[in-house]
Structures are given as structure tokens and as C-alpha cells.
Symmetry: D2
């Protein structure tokens, strides 16, 4: 896990003094993070003058240079300002839509200046409380127009930058458009430059909809679209909790880590989580270290799973292919189909076979518990 | 709503005597349905001889001819038989995967013989209880191989048939692959013949994941992929309830009907619901009539929404475009972007504008309640 | 609905200028509300001096006198200040627990001074993110000690005041103690003065757990414990949405109103909801009026339900008692039991009876839609 | 864990041959279970003659004697037969209500004959799909009448038997009455013989409503009402999954085991779970052993948590009481209250204190993962 990092945003809140970006960089360096991400306004206040902006960026670059941290990803805050209360790219107000493009282009410039290669889009207000107020088809078209425009902008500027779309089902809006990673994967295939665009799945966001996050990440990986990932944890069917990675469900965290490691995912492992409000800054460091420790422990567990003789023997048995179906496998031919349609299957025998999944799952549980 | 229909399957159960397919056709005709759909084994038992099969099909065709009902859609039961206990196309057992293709090809033949133009795929066992037992990437590849094979089969046979993929997040498996309509829309773009393949969203299935169904249907419609739809109702975050259309949430049902009608959806309105277990056959008829009545009432409400002067005036105001953004709209140009980046926005003014969505939503509620 | 009212708190937020308490009273009077409720710090800032506090209270009383609004209920803010980040009465810190009692007693004095007869307890931070940090049995005992202490305080002061406990399953804490109205009803029976203590169920809070709110309110009513109610709306399994009453599910809102009206509930109908963030102050008024209008419309629908001949005939049929079970009904006797144990029931006949619930529910739906 | 056991019911299903009760006893003995529970009709078919019933009971007793298994708990099946399609004790049909009492009394006799000391009530059909069909207050009164009647029956017969009420939020009904353990705890306080009645919480049932199960069990324990417990596992917001204990969430399972063991719970640990449908009988045994193994592993982890020096030092620090609040603690007095009301608290200091819960939770996670 050589690309771990933390977003600047989470590490502040009403119970703790707000850290400056430079302080955040130093805190992250202190706990051993690889990088730091930010929303434009985490770094530069929305009402900063150009001179202030330039000073902030200089100081931030110096802090990066001092600590060795990098900025793998940047993003735009299109949700905090009241201007975005009904969405940014999907707002009914053409001025708001134009302002959202304006703000995002400036934020892209900032991100690229700081070295970001991935630009995340989380449409924090792209949704609705009542479908009376916006035609959902119009909303899709507006989203597409904005993404196509911004792809053109990146190409026009010659930036080396890819986009990663982040889904969320609800909160802060009643319902958000493109509610899951699946919807985002479908949406991006309809863009003018789909090759520039992938996804940034977040554990908490799929869990809010009670979905198996590992399956969604697998779909993105298999499609070559896993450009970035946000790691945290969250109970199903709850408000956006953004807990420490692994804090809720160790088993699902394990399958996720295993998927990423087995498939050589080489993007960022971004811990987009928040320390409990009970913590002071020592607690925030405990939290940040905990995210990374749990990831590394689970990574080692995945290696052990792959090396465990009993587990691997079971997996071989489960996937056994005695070869009788070989005539029907491979590319489609009419002859093959005729044979397959005429084949007589021993249905009861297929149904009677025991699959040993309880034993396999229990072995996995015991490996997780460290007693295997 | 000239294409309403009912699937044969739901109208039976342990509290009522099982009807024969012919009896179901007559019951549906009796309540005014347009068509009847079926799983292969709803019509022909899985262990029927060829002679029995042919007799059943003859009787069924006669019942269709007698009543005027049509068969717009057919599908395969790939979930009831114990052979499919670990999936059909995604099973770890190559014999089961081959048997699933075999069974589906025969079922496609049957569906085409009876006039079906749409073939639905709901992978009732394509999922897992533990991700230790199956690599989710392998599962995706197996699903794709099966769909590509069956597309080839349809092309090879010269059938006039399209596929509609139906998602479900869980139940009967712990987690199902391609959990939502969004995931299915993404998956189908990776197929060899995506033009033959669309989706069959079901209200209850998206509601199980607490998702806004209208948004998912809008995405499918906008992508030209809404090939079929399953109408019923369901509380969020529950077991698969399959209640009468509109029985849980009239407001979300209204926005769905409005979307379908406003956009000229011309496919089936398939009521894939079940009468409460408290009902005898008169109750089943009440239930079937209720589905259709509620759809028609909401269709009329949608027309009234579109004609209501107060509502329409609000919508015009909400979407007002005073034209100042015109220089930045339309196709991307570098000059346009430079101007937009330099434009000065009155952010506080954008944020201060009241949008009247409470009033609009309350007008909608009162229209639904019949007091507007 | 002669006791409708609004809490002072919701009507402000980052998208709108914060109103003073006096302005809120005037806004509520403007839309026709009956009363106004408040948290102590909605009225008096947590850091106000005694002189400031007295001036605020004088102004507020004058506004009440000017408008005729009353204060039926008051409550304590035990969640906003960082001191309460790990709970108030259940905090692990004995100073915080003492401060929570101190703050509540002063707030009770304020509420009584303004005429409140009901004092609500919502323990906004009484919960946990990890059960490692607090023994749940200790938490229960601390909650009980605090409630017993405060009951003694009210008795000691001779106040005419009852307590109403409000449950919430989660948010802002990962899990809240006494997660539902059911848990609160059980908890209060273990107090030293249970006769002083009832519940304040809130639609949104039970819906967050996907529970039927009407059933919970019925249990409270039947036990004589429905001392107050918070009306709003919310999708199941989501963050705390606090939407306008009836904004999500008209059918469940209808059954709730019917329950309250049929059973002569004479406490407050408190609309504890928030206008969408899209609204300006005119929108806030639309929202407030909408809550009250929808309640009144549903109240009239309930009267129509009770007067509808077709519906009432069905209900009589459904509940028919032909009298054969009379020998077994009433108080327990050994003879009755012997007879009942020996009675031979026609089980298939009991199971075969159709109950017409689909028809009844469809009639209800059509009554709601105004087409019946 | 000296009282582990399995219910007869789960170990069968359409994918496996149904075992006879005697075979189930032998299978449970084989995997080392302590006891076996049953619904009346798991043992004696609903249509058995008296002679058949007596033979079955004789054979079952012999199997118990042969294996040393005991029957700690019994219960009634009031949900499978169509007669109960609209409830048993809450049915609108007085004949069904009488039949439910009749059936339960006979089943209690059977349970007592086989040695059961606890009688569980799970009202599998006590609920509704539409609140139009049943007044929820009537349903509560019917439930209470039935429970009071059956308490009298047990007292009248002189049986040594207690009742344990089991809650479930939904499924198979749309909504079930007394939806959670909290509602059941409240309900039982309204009975004529509350001392005879406790609860039987089930992990899966509280998790269906997304509730913290450990908190519900703590409330029951603290009230002296934890008469029985059903252990299994389940994702939040899903159909009733009844997975192997610990199969979904190891952390919540750990806190549950710790609560039971720390508080000396001496009732049954009943594993009311089902093996995956993928399993043959060897898999069913793996599953049963897995439930017990995971419980024992977590029990040992709880002991280590209680002995871990770093964790215990943190807990002492978290709960530190420097004594300054002592004057305000203990029984209520007017003088104490006056002093407490006048005490000046250093609110910012209370809020600024870091609580180290992230560190404590991470230590817990690492203890669970076996790396601590």
C-alpha cells in the first residue's frame, strides 16, 4: 500500500480547531501518509483574492516539498455554497450551471498545478427532494453536457488528467442522480470522451444503499474504470458515517482489500473518512494510523488466504471442471449449439452436490480472527 | 395504457389452489389485461415429456386465441431448481453453466413460438452469500460469456427478439451481481451486441436498495434501453414484497407514471406483483384490477399536472433563463471558455434566490389527493 | 387540529438568514400556527448573561401575547455543544453528566415560566460509535438516574409538567440508546415515577429504522403514554430528512392521522420539520402551511373513510363474529379451557376464506386519490 | 457456552432431504450441541393422529435419552398453516383466534412433557399489509388477551414454564406488530403476569431494522427479561437471512458475546440459523460447528479484552472521576439541587477533552484480527 493518503477536508470540525492546509500536510506526513487530496475551497477559501490564493498555494507547495507528500487527486466543492442548493451542473438556474463550470475549470487548473492526475467529481447537490421540480431526463442531459465540456477543457489545455465520478444515493439531497457506482459506470459510457472518465467508488456511499461494495468495485475494475477509490466504513441504511476503514465490517473490508490486491490495482488507496467527534488531534492521528494499519493487516490476511492449503484445496474442488462440457465451451457455432441443446443433463445430480461454502466461509472467518 | 398485462407466475401460492396456465389466461382476460408473460416452467413443467409440452403449448395458444391476449415477453426460470442453487450462468460448476444455456435456448424457442418480442433475464441465483466462494470478476466474465452466446443464438436463429436484463440487489442470494438497474446498464455496454440488450427495471427491486426508481428508469429511457418494465410496489429496505402497483407510495408511483407517459414509453406496462396471501380468487381479481386502475388514475393525474396553470407557471419561473449565460452555452470553444473563466458571478445573489419547491411539491401532493 | 404548532429551531439554516425568536413567533402566527416550542438555546444563547436572558424572555413573552401563540412544550439542547460530544446523561465524564442536569433544570425553569406543560427529552448524543467505549448497561442506568433525578426536581418545585421521551435510532451518533419508541416505552416503565413520563414519537425517527410509525404510536396511545408527537416525513433507511408532513408517503400519513383522530388524541400536533434548503422565507411559509393543510385534508379523508358505506360494509364483514366462539371468550376458567382444547376446528375452511383486503386497500387508495 | 443448542426447524429445505426429528437430534448430538428446540409441527405434523403423535414423542424422547440432548425451549407454529394468513392471536376471525389458543395450549403441553422451561412466542403472521384492514390498537388488545389467557393456563396447570416474546419488524407480513425487542419489552409490562414473561431477541430480526442488537439485549438483561436468545447473523435492511453466527459482522457479534459473558447470562445460546442452500449434510454440520466455534472464539476474545492492559488502562482513563461532582451525586435533595444549579461549569474545557475512542476501537479491531 504505497499510495495511501488522506483528504484535507475531513480533519476538522466543530469539536476541534480547524487546521490550515499546511498543518494538515504536516499531520498527514506525521502519520505516514503518501499523499493529500483537497477540494478547491479546502485549500483556497471561496472568497480569497488572487494574491491570497497565490500565497496559499506557495505555502502549500512548500509544505509538500518539505514532507514529500504528493497530491494525487483534486476535486471541486460544488455543494457548500448556497448557490449550489439545487445542484451545480444540474441546477435549474443557467447562471448556477455556468458558475459551476467556471469554478470547476479554475479548480482543475489548481489541481493540475499541484500535480494531480485524477480529478474527482462528486455532485454533492446533484439531486432532488421532489421530482416535481426537475425532469430527471433533463438532469442527465445537463450532467452529460457539463462532463463533455470539461473533458474538452482538459484536452484543450493539454492536461494529463483523468476524471473519476463518485456516486452517492442520497444526503445531502433527498435523492441523488446516478445513485450508485453502477449508474455512474453506465452514465460515463454515454459521454463524448469515455476513455478519459472512470469512477471513484466510496465504501460508505454504496453501503448507504445496502449494496455489496466489493461487487461494484469489481465491475469498475473489470471494465478498466477504477481510477480512484475512497476507503472508509459505514453501516447499511444509515446517514453518511465515513468511519475509519474497517471500523464497521471487517469481513467486507477484507474481500475488498483482497480484490484490489489480487488484481494489482495501482491507483490511490484514499482514506476518505472522519475521526469520531470525540477525538482531539492525537485521536485524529490514531484514526489516520488505524485506517492504514487495518488495510495492511487485511492485505496480509489476503496473502495468507491465497497461500492457505485448506482454503485453496477447497477452491480447487469448488471450481473443478471434469471436462465433459468442453465441447460446448468457447466461441459460438451452430453445431456446438445443436449439440448443447440435445445434451441430456442429470439435473438431480447437479442439485444434490454439496458445495462446502459454509466450511470455506468459516475458514475465512477464522483466518480473519487470527485463529486459523 | 394499452399494453397492460400480468405474468402467469404470481397468481398462485400456498394459500390458493394453483391455476393452470389456461386458467390464468382466462382470469387475466376477465380483468381486462392485455397480455400474459411466463417463465418457461410456469407453462411447461421442468420434467414434462415432449408430448406433454406440445399439448400444453397447443392448449395455451388456443386460450390466447380465444381471449385475444398476447405474449409480449417470456423468460427462463433459472432459480427454482436445486441445480441453480449457486447460480446459473455464474455457477462455479461448468455443467450447471452449460445446462443454464441449454435450458435458456429451449425457453427462447418456446417464447418466440408464442410470439414474445422481449426476453427477460433475471438471474435469481446469480449472487453469493460469501465472496470467499467466487471471484466477482470471474462472475462478471461468466455473465458476459453467457449473454454473448445467447445473443449469437438469437441472431443465428433469425429471431426478432431483444433481451431485457433485470437487476435485484439481494434475495434469494445474500448479494446479487449487477445489483441495480444502473449496474445492468453499465454491464450491457460491455457486451458484443449491446444494441440487442436493454433493461427491465422493477419497482420493488430498486426500492429494496432504497433507491429512487424513477431516476433509474429515466436513465434507461434516456439511453434508449428501457425495453420492458415491471410495475409493483415495495417499502424501502425490506424483503421482496411485490405489492400491488401504488400500494406503498403513491407519490413515487405518480412520478414514474408521469415519466413513462411524458416520454411516450411504448413498451409493456407489466404488473409483476402478487396479491396478498389473505385473498381468494375474487381478491386476486380485485388486486389485478387495482394495479391497472391506479396506473390509469395516475396517468390522468399526470395529464392534469401538465395542464395545471399554477404548477406550469411555477415550472416556467423555476426554469427561467434570462439569457445572460447564452455566450457560454453550446459547443465548446477556447474563446467561450476564456470568457466564462473570466466572468464574475454574483454568488450571494445566486444563493439567495428562493425556488418555491415547497409550494410546487405541495401543489403536487394536493393534486394527488384530489383537492387541487 | 386545534393545537398545531412549530418548533422555533428548524426555521433557519445556512441558506437563509437566522430569524430571532421574536421573528419566528411572528412568522408562525402569520401562517396560522397554534403554538411554538423551543430548545433552551434556540431562545437564549448558551453564553448569554442573566440580563440578556431576561430581556430575551421579556421580548418573547410580549411576542406571544401579541400573537396569541402559546408554548405547549419545551426542551433542552443537550447535543450542540462540544461538551456533549459523548452524550449528556450517559457521558463517561461525571462533570458532563452533572452539567447536563444543571442545564436541564435551568431549561425546565425557563419552559415552565413560558407556560410549557410538556418537557421533551431527545438525547441527541446519547449513543456511541463503538461499544468498546461504553457499557450499554451502564448507559441505561445513567439514563435512569438522570430521569429519576429530574422527576424529583419537577415534583420538588411543584411544577405542572410531564416528560415526553423521544427516540431515534442513529444520527448524529452511530447508534443511539433506546433506539425506538418501543424501547422508550419499555425504559420509562423502569423509572421511579413512570406516571409523569410518556413518549414523543417522531415520524422521521421511526422511519429511519424502516418501522411502521402508526403501530408505534398506537402502542403509546393504548398505554396512555402518547404525551406529544412530532409530525414530519422521511424515507425509510435514510439520514434524518425531516420533510414536510406527508411529503414522502401519503398513505402512511393517512393511517397516522386516522389513528390520532379516531382515538381523540388531545395533545399537540407538532410539525417538527424543515423546509427544503431551496426555499426563501416565502417558501418557509409555504412549507409550514403545507404541513397543516395536508394534516387537515387527511383528517377529512379519515372522516370519509369512517362514513364510506362500501368500506364500512367490508370492515363489518371482515370482523364478522358468528358467535360460535362465545363459549371460549371472556375471563379464563378451567372449564372453558377444557372445552376449547377439545374443540374441533375446520382448519382448511379457516384457511380458504378470502378476506377482501386487496379490495379494501384499493378503496382506501382511491379515497386518498380523491376518485372514490 | 454450556447451553448451546439448535432448533430442529432450520435443518431442512428444498435443496436437501428433510430429516426426521430423530435424525435431527442425532445430527445435533454429532456436532456437539447441548439441546434441541422445536415448533410443535416440526415434531408432530399438524394432521397427525393421536396414535401417530404419541409414537413420534416416544421416539423423540428415546433419541434425547440416547444422545443426552435436552429440550430447553419449545414454541408453536402459528404461521405456516393458511388458517393463520391474517394472524393468529390478532386475526380478525374469532375462530382463528380461538384455534390459535387451542393449538398453543396443546403445544405447551407437548413442550412441558419434553422438559421445556421456556416457551417462545414468535407471532409470524401477527401483522398487516394494510392498516385499513385492522385497527392497531385492537391488535394490541387481542395480543394481550391471548398472552394473559395463556399465562393463566400455565399457572392453572402448575407448569414450571416462562414465556419469551420474540419480535420481528416485517416478513412474512408487510409490517409486524411489536416490531422490535423494545416494543416487546414495553408490551409485556402491560400484561397481567409480567413476572412470567420475558423476551427472546434474535440478531437477524433487530438487524433487519438496522438496529444495534447489543443495545437491545442490554436493555432486556438490565430489566431481568432476557429469558432466551436467538443467535445468527444478518445484514441490515434485508430479507430474513438467518446466516451462521458471526457470518456477517464479527465486531457486533463480539460486543454481543462480551455482553452476555460479562453479565453472566445463564440461559440458552440458541443458534437459530440456516446453512446456505449450497450445502449438503456435511455442510450443515460445518455450519452448526461454525456457529459454536465462532461463539467460543469471541468469548475468548472478550476475556482477552478484559485482561488487556492497554485497553483496560484506556477504559480507566475514559471513565475517570476526579471527585468534584461528588456533592451532586446520590439521592435527590433540594440542597444538592440548589448547589448544582449554582455550579459554574467550564464548558469549553469539557468539550476540548480528547476521549481516545479511535484508539480504543482500533485496539479492539486488532484484538479481533488476532494481531494484538
Amino acid at each position: 500500500m504505497d499510495r495511501r493518503q488522506h483528504r484535507a477536508r475531513p480533519i476538522r470540525g466543530p469539536v476541534r480547531e480547524v487546521l490550515t492546509p499546511v498543518e494538515i500536510v504536516r499531520l498527514l506526513a506525521d502519520v505516514g501518509a503518501y499523499g493529500v487530496n483537497f477540494h478547491d475551497n479546502d485549500l483556497v477559501p471561496i472568497d480569497a483574492t488572487l494574491a491570497q490564493r497565490n500565497q496559499i498555494v506557495r505555502d502549500f507547495k512548500q509544505a509538500l516539498a518539505d514532507t514529500g507528500l504528493v497530491v494525487p487527486m483534486a476535486t471541486t466543492n460544488l455543494f457548500s455554497d448556497p448557490a449550489f442548493k439545487d445542484g451545480a451542473f444540474t441546477s435549474n438556474d443557467p447562471q448556477v450551471r455556468a458558475y459551476a463550470l467556471h469554478k470547476t475549470m479554475h479548480a482543475i487548473d489548481l489541481g493540475v498545478e499541484l500535480g494531480a492526475k485524477i480529478y474527482v467529481f462528486w455532485g454533492g447537490r446533484e439531486g432532488t427532494e421532489t421530482d416535481a421540480a426537475k425532469d430527471p431526463i433533463t438532469a442527465i442531459k445537463r450532467s452529460r453536457d457539463a462532463m463533455n465540456f470539461l473533458c474538452e477543457y482538459v484536452l484543450d489545455q493539454g492536461y494529463d488528467l483523468k476524471f473519476a465520478l463518485e456516486a452517492k444515493p442520497n444526503e445531502p439531497r433527498g435523492d441523488m442522480y446516478n445513485a450508485t457506482t453502477g449508474h455512474m459506470l453506465a452514465f460515463l459510457t454515454t459521454l463524448a470522451h469515455p476513455e478519459m472518465v472512470g469512477v471513484n467508488p466510496e465504501v460508505a456511499h454504496e453501503h448507504m444503499a445496502g449494496l455489496n461494495f466489493t461487487h461494484a468495485v469489481a465491475q469498475a475494475l473489470e471494465a478498466g474504470k477504477l481510477f480512484h477509490i475512497d476507503l472508509n466504513d459505514q453501516a447499511f441504511g444509515r446517514y453518511d458515517q465515513d468511519f475509519r476503514f474497517g471500523a464497521v465490517n471487517l469481513k467486507s473490508a477484507f474481500f475488498l482489500v483482497k480484490l484490489l490486491e489480487d488484481n494489482g490495482y495501482d491507483g490511490s488507496r484514499h482514506f476518505d473518512a472522519h475521526a469520531y467527534r470525540t477525538e482531539d488531534y492525537e485521536g485524529v492521528k490514531d484514526f489516520a494510523r488505524g485506517c492504514m494499519r487495518t488495510y495492511l493487516i487485511l492485505k496480509e490476511k489476503a496473502e495468507r488466504f491465497n497461500a492457505d492449503q485448506e482454503i485453496q484445496a477447497l477452491l480447487i474442488e469448488i471450481n473443478a471442471d471434469e471436462g465433459t462440457m468442453a465441447p460446448y465451451q468457447g466461441a459460438y457455432t451452430s453445431a456446438k449449439v445443436a449439440a448443447l441443446k440435445g445434451h441430456s443433463f442429470d439435473r438431480p445430480a447437479l442439485g444434490a452436490r454439496g458445495l462446502s461454502y459454509e466450511r470455506l466461509d468459516q475458514l475465512t472467518v477464522e483466518l480473519l480472527l487470527g485463529v486459523q
